[in-house]
């Protein structure tokens, strides 16, 4: 189970917006993000994004970059929450031990198990001590920290701090040797 912690407030409502074009109307640079979590199959990243007083959960799809989904959470005070993936398609939002919301991340996307299976066989087990120097070469001048990985150990979610902005989240695909940028954290977030 993938877990990540963030600070989100009182959940008022959850509504799914399937929104390629709607997202374009929202300037990504104005939002602050936190608490990302990579799905067990390595195909999606969910994170909390807010621009006071609004809060939402964003789920990006690495296999289909145009299928980002947004779940509006409304507005309220600060409470720590965690995002966790129950299955490759369902997300749990927890405050403490309590599950405050459960929803499908992307009911319209293709089954992801095949991609995950195809990546699995040829890789040695994930070894952080070998992986970090490799990633550091790819992202010099950054302080890297691993957030989590998928179940197969083929993709890892990492945070790169030290940029002129607040840092960026990446997914590194070990099979393809590719870095996907999945979210930016602004240096001066407008927290609720």
């Amino acid at each position: 189970m993938s877990l990540a912690r963030g600070f989100v407030c009182w959940v008022v409502s959850i509504s799914m917006r399937s929104t390629v074009m709607a997202a374009a109307s929202v300037s990504g640079s104005a939002w602050h993000c936190d608490a990302p979590a990579l799905s067990p199959d390595g195909l999606r990243v969910a994170y909390v994004q807010w621009d006071s007083p609004f809060v939402r959960i964003v789920v990006v799809n690495l296999a289909e970059p145009g299928r980002t989904n947004y779940f509006r959470l409304g507005k309220s005070g600060i409470d720590p929450v965690t995002i966790s993936w129950r299955t490759p398609l369902s997300i749990e939002l927890r405050r403490g031990d309590a599950v405050v919301a459960t929803f499908m991340a992307d009911s319209t996307s293709l089954p992801s198990g095949q991609l995950s299976e195809s990546r699995r066989p040829s890789l040695p087990p994930l070894d952080e001590s070998k992986l970090m120097p490799l990633l550091q070469q790819k992202l010099p001048h950054r302080t890297l920290s691993l957030v989590n990985s998928d179940d197969a150990g083929t993709r890892v979610l990492l945070f790169a701090a030290g940029a002129r902005d607040g840092g960026r989240f990446f997914v590194y695909d070990r099979t393809e040797d590719l870095l996907f940028e999945v979210a930016r954290r602004k240096s001066s977030p407008t927290q609720p």
Binding site: G28, W31, V58, P65, L139, P140, R164, D165, L179
Partner: protein
């Protein structure tokens, strides 16, 4: 020094926008089931009554048997396309060989050898452009077009509109751009060549000047979503990999990303803000001259690899969605004046075309090479006889004789051209090669050393050649061979030439 072992060969490439390259064209022509009809080489059958127009404009010599208006309009379009390329890439960073352009109206197309016609048709069929061919060597690039000025447009809806006729709607092909960038010495980084080529390919003339539109690379499957969603996830290569890698044939996705990101990098450097272009060209220059590292990059761009990767990522949604403006005006059409071609000008153009096409014939129609050589030799000999004072025709004759294997005749002709003052690099290098061979032939195998006078004879020619055409690789190779047959140690001047060769043709980057 090992990197300069490969000579710049004659290339046969499409000039106009063509999605397929010359290799495919050649393959297509070879696969045709039609029997090859043996005809004499290109152009030599033009009848005596053909009226040729001639003009020379900034290193581009044009010979045309089309009417005056067609010739002028075509030349204006061609020169404007070149000028746009020159606006994008300063002279220092591209090969600048003199160009020879030959235009023939379609009604005279039967004058063209069948083999050449088939190659042209293959290019035309694959690109939708007018039939054309281009052959290049290090010292000259020659293009041949069949122009049908009576066909204004193939699309009925466009007839009667003010749009330019079909034969004027072209620009320089990616092959042309890539050839002029990749042949430059010292060699540019592959990502620079790729990025500049694709930026030019997607260029458009607008009322507000030149721009590069978002193309298939910037809107590839991995990046397309960023057109609509600035936060869409996207893969980008680390800068270190972008700058050092060449396209990976086996890894389709990474290769596609490398090409797309090369273009993104060029657009970001040249067009995002005006303040980066000086640093960009400095980086292009210095990364070609010596192994480069991140410090050089940072000194040129004011940011390190990771910051630049972030900046490219931030620039991507803009580049994938909107045209990037060059801040350069569309070049004005110049007034061009053509005159009736003099016999020497006609003979020179025909002789040079016949010479350059030989290598293409050898590659694509090897069985016909003896016929083509014989015909080229016959026509060049006649041309040299008719134009006794023409040094350039004399030089071409000598080069054709050498290609045909008649080295004794070639040496006589080339010596004559050199004595008369020919400065053409291929002439000097070929003569140096023949002199060296001649001197070595008189030696025994065990002591194949040149005398001081023999060494001086050969090196004098090569010094002239490399001074006038610094990128003529064959000249340096021969220079090294001469020094290897010399007993004495190289002089400081000779060492300086070899050092220059290493700088021009040695491996760059690390």
């Amino acid at each position: 020094m090992k990197a300069w072992a490969t000579c710049v060969g004659i290339m046969l490439l499409p000039l106009i926008m063509a999605p397929q390259g010359s290799g495919q064209v050649a393959a297509a022509s070879r696969e045709s089931a039609d029997p090859v009809v043996r005809l004499p080489p290109l152009l030599v059958q033009a009848d005596a009554q053909t009226r040729w127009l001639h003009g020379e404009f900034a290193g581009t010599e044009i010979l045309s048997s089309c009417d005056w208006d067609t010739t002028k309009r075509f030349a204006q379009r061609y020169l404007r396309a070149k000028e746009e390329f020159h606006q994008l890439v300063p002279e220092e960073f591209r090969l600048n060989p003199p160009e020879l352009v030959i235009l023939v109206p379609s009604k005279e197309a039967q004058l063209i050898a069948v083999e050449t016609g088939r190659l042209m048709q293959a290019v035309s069929a694959s690109s939708g452009a007018i039939p054309h061919l281009r052959v290049s060597s290090g010292d000259l690039s020659a293009s041949f077009f069949i122009v049908d000025s009576h066909v204004e447009s193939t699309k009925p809806a466009e007839r009667g509109s003010n749009e330019a006729p079909e034969y004027l709607r072209f620009t320089l092909s990616p092959d042309y751009i890539s050839y002029h960038l990749s042949s430059r010495r010292p060699a540019l980084l592959p990502c620079i060549i790729s990025g500049l080529t694709d930026s030019f390919e997607s260029a458009a003339e607008t009322g507000n000047g030149l721009c590069s539109r978002p193309d298939v690379w910037l809107t590839n499957a991995d990046w397309r979503a960023s057109r609509a969603d600035v936060d869409a996830p996207r893969p980008l290569l680390p800068l270190k990999e972008l700058l050092r890698l060449e396209p990976l044939q086996g890894d389709v996705r990474k290769s596609r990303l490398w090409r797309a990101q090369s273009q993104l990098f060029v657009r970001w450097s040249l067009f995002d803000t005006s303040s980066r272009s000086a640093g960009f060209w400095r980086f292009v220059r210095e990364s070609a001259q010596r192994p480069f590292d991140e410090r050089l990059f940072e000194s040129c761009f004011g940011q390190n690899y990771s910051d630049c990767r972030d900046a490219l990522s931030d620039f991507l949604p803009t580049a994938a969605r909107y045209p990037t403006i060059w801040n350069q005006p569309v070049p004005q059409a110049h007034s061009l004046f053509f005159t009736s071609a003099k016999p020497e000008e006609i003979d020179w153009c025909k002789t040079e075309w016949d010479r350059l096409i030989l290598t293409a014939v050898e590659r694509d129609f090897p069985a016909l090479l003896p016929d083509y050589r014989r015909e080229a030799l016959t026509m060049a000999t006649r041309a040299a006889t008719r134009n006794e004072r023409s040094l350039r025709i004399l030089g071409s004759l000598g080069l054709i004789q050498a290609q045909a294997g008649d080295e004794a005749a070639a040496m006589r002709t080339l010596e004559q051209a050199a004595r008369a003052g020919s400065k053409r690099s291929p002439v000097l290098v070929e003569l140096a090669r023949l002199r060296l061979k001649h001197y070595l032939a008189t030696k025994s195998v065990s002591s194949a050393e040149l005398s001081e006078q023999e060494t001086a004879d050969v090196l004098a020619l090569l010094n002239q050649a490399v001074q006038s055409s610094p990128s003529i690789e064959a000249g340096y190779l021969l220079y090294r061979a001469v020094l290897q047959h010399t007993k004495r140690p190289p002089t400081p001047t000779e060492l300086a030439v070899m050092k220059q060769a290493a700088e021009l043709f040695g491996e760059s980057g690390n």
